[in-house]
């Protein structure tokens, strides 16, 4: 059943994102998509969605949403909570990594994300129109999102009504933690444009995150990476999110989801897919270290991440929130149920089957 929520506060740095837009990079269209696909998948799992359903990505402060028709389950991932104001005027806190179900007239006020990004998933996904095969927002060319832009007050977003028991909520057993340690990269494509000292610095010295960061890229500051006699300019060639380009000033820039499809600076290395989501959570002043890995190590890290996420999703619990404790007692159910997401699940297009038991 179709359901509608209205934006009553647009928040800050909020955009509709999904897995991104592939198939158009040959004509210069960036991939875009969630900066942290793992947390996007986590929010979707909480809300009962497929892992790559479109969500609201929150870069600073979350939006406030009012359910207009039908019941909507909202799943939160990242270090970001919310308040639910129901039609009886009760204010209920919604903790990070929990769901809240909105009945018509209820409002959820999603708070700020303490750092990095958080995700707000709506049951059935945010059903804005797809453009070029994706709902992801790319603001510079007004592609995707809500008519090519970020959500505004008064916008109405379509999603799906909750299937099953609307009095049940869901929560993660524990927050998702990304891997720690150095950021893993594969050297190239132009590591041969740097002096041996520059390569050694890149793989041993800390590089500090500057304030200059957005969905296109992240500027770092550290020991200067000196180009050799091949120079600091190349004839433009292809780049990808995670590519680390180094202009003449020797300070690296990590390209992110909205990056251009090609670039004319030498690229010393590219962050592996498993570690790229970590860069969505760094703060100015954080120090990054890089370590070079092989393709086999990168692929193993990605498979391990998919498996770990599958396990995390498998441990999502259902519960009856305090406000409905009486109803819960009437059902005679356990207050804490077991794992509930037995759905087919996928991340990065890989399907995983769970043996999780349904309530």
């Amino acid at each position: 059943m179709s359901t509608v929520v209205e934006i009553i506060d647009a928040g800050l740095a909020v955009s509709v994102q999904d897995r991104g837009r592939t198939g158009y990079r040959n004509i210069g269209v960036p991939v875009s998509g969630a900066l942290d696909p793992v947390l996007m998948a986590a929010a979707n799992a909480l809300a009962g969605n497929a892992s790559e359903a479109a969500v609201l990505e929150v870069g600073l402060s979350g939006p406030s949403l009012k359910a207009l028709s039908g019941t909507v389950r909202v799943g939160l991932s990242g270090e970001m909570g919310a308040q639910l104001v129901n039609t009886r005027g009760q204010v209920l806190n919604v903790a990070p990594w929990h769901t809240a179900t909105l009945f018509p007239g209820d409002v959820i006020r999603v708070g700020g994300v303490s750092h990095g990004v958080g995700y707000v998933a709506l049951s059935g996904g945010v059903q804005v129109a797809e453009q070029l095969g994706s709902r992801s927002t790319y603001l510079r060319a007004a592609i995707g999102g809500v008519q090519g832009r970020a959500p505004r007050v008064g916008d109405r977003l379509q999603c799906d009504a909750v299937r099953g028991d609307p009095w049940l909520e869901f929560r993660a057993r524990a927050p998702w933690h990304h891997d720690t340690g150095p950021i893993r990269v594969i050297l190239g494509p132009q590591e041969d444009h740097f002096t041996p000292d520059a390569l050694a610095s890149f793989l041993s010295k800390p590089y500090a995150v500057t304030r200059d960061m957005d969905r296109m890229g992240l500027r770092l500051d550290g020991e200067k990476l000196v180009h050799n006699d091949k120079g600091a300019e190349i004839v433009s060639d292809g780049v990808a999110p995670g590519t680390i380009q180094v202009p003449a000033n020797g300070q690296p820039i990590v390209l992110m989801a909205d990056c251009q499809t090609s670039g004319g600076y030498p690229k010393i290395a590219t962050v592996i897919r498993a570690d790229l989501p970590r860069l969505a959570h760094v703060r100015p002043g954080d120090e990054l270290r890089f370590v070079a890995v092989s393709h086999a190590e990168a692929a193993a890290a990605l498979r391990e991440q998919v498996q770990r996420l599958a396990e995390w999703v498998g441990m999502i619990q259902s519960f009856r929130p305090p406000g409905v404790i009486d109803e819960a007692a009437l059902y005679g159910a356990n207050l804490i149920c077991g794992a509930v997401r037995g759905d087919e699940w996928n991340l990065h297009g890989v399907n995983l089957q769970y043996g999780a038991h349904h309530v």
């Binding site: 433009s236 292809g238 590219t270 086999a296 990065h348």
Partner: protein, 255 residues
């Protein structure tokens, strides 16, 4: 289409764990670009036969093709070996795609840098317009912005460096030059190229899912001068959706 065989081997470069760049050379050169087009065309064929499992898409540039893949669906090293083998036998495609005749207004209102370029090069204004409209440009690649074409073939007489200080706002649909390149800005954006004219024709339309970008790598472009009145009229037609883009392809010139 001419196919040549026997080429020096291509280099394969890592772009992380999810892409390989197949590099045919270092310069901006029709021969190198011919190999880029030849390799892309081979990938097109293999992909439509379902023989590129795990390959997501590929991006041709001046001198290389970046092949993006899903590392969970295909083994990076196996794909490396396949691409290296394909690059050795993909040949060169020297024939162009479609030839587009695109109206451009060179009036000073649309071309804020044209008079400066003419003065710097010791040319009359009309002479600059003649050079711009007599040249058959080739689309090397699209990048920088969705639908932004890099066009090769600019006469040496118009070779000028970029502006020392880039503009904060380049009007959308501006035609611009830098070095031996010409380009067209589909979107309003910052930019350092010299603005030589403006077209009323939309260069990118996301609502046109079949062909969102007007131009494709390998296409040829000829600018056709129009006056300011014609520009205004055509701009209105394009904005109202009353302009047929296929009218830009002259009879008998499509590849």
């Amino acid at each position: 289409m001419t196919i040549e065989l026997a080429h020096p081997s291509a280099r394969l470069l890592s772009v992380g764990d999810s892409a390989w760049t197949v590099e045919f050379g270092n310069g901006i050169d029709p021969a190198i670009h011919g190999r880029v087009l030849g390799f892309s065309s081979l990938l097109d064929t293999l992909s439509s036969d379902g023989r590129l499992d795990g390959v997501v898409e590929w991006v041709p540039t001046f001198r290389s093709v970046t092949v993006h893949f899903d590392p969970l669906r295909t083994d990076a090293m196996a794909l490396h070996d396949l691409l290296a083998e394909l690059a050795g036998r993909s040949g060169s495609v020297s024939a162009a795609g479609s030839r587009w005749h695109i109206p451009v207004c060179f009036d000073a209102a649309c071309a804020p840098d044209l008079d400066d370029v003419a003065a710097a090069k010791g040319l009359a204004r009309d002479e600059v317009v003649r050079l711009m409209t007599e040249t058959v440009f080739t689309v090397y690649m699209l990048g920088f912005l969705p639908g932004f074409p890099y066009l090769g073939g600019l006469p040496e007489a118009l070779d000028m460096p970029r502006l020392a200080s880039p503009r904060k706002v380049v009007p959308s649909r501006s035609i611009a030059i830098a070095g031996r390149m010409c380009a067209a800005y589909p979107w309003e954006s910052p930019g350092g190229w010299r603005l030589m004219g403006r077209t009323p024709v939309r260069l990118f339309d996301a609502a046109n899912a079949r062909r969102p970008a007007l131009l494709a790598p390998g296409d040829q472009v000829v600018w056709e001068a129009i006056d300011l009145d014609a520009f205004d009229a055509l701009e209105r037609d394009c904005a109202a959706g009353r302009f047929d883009l296929s009218s830009l392809l002259k009879e008998g010139e499509a590849a």
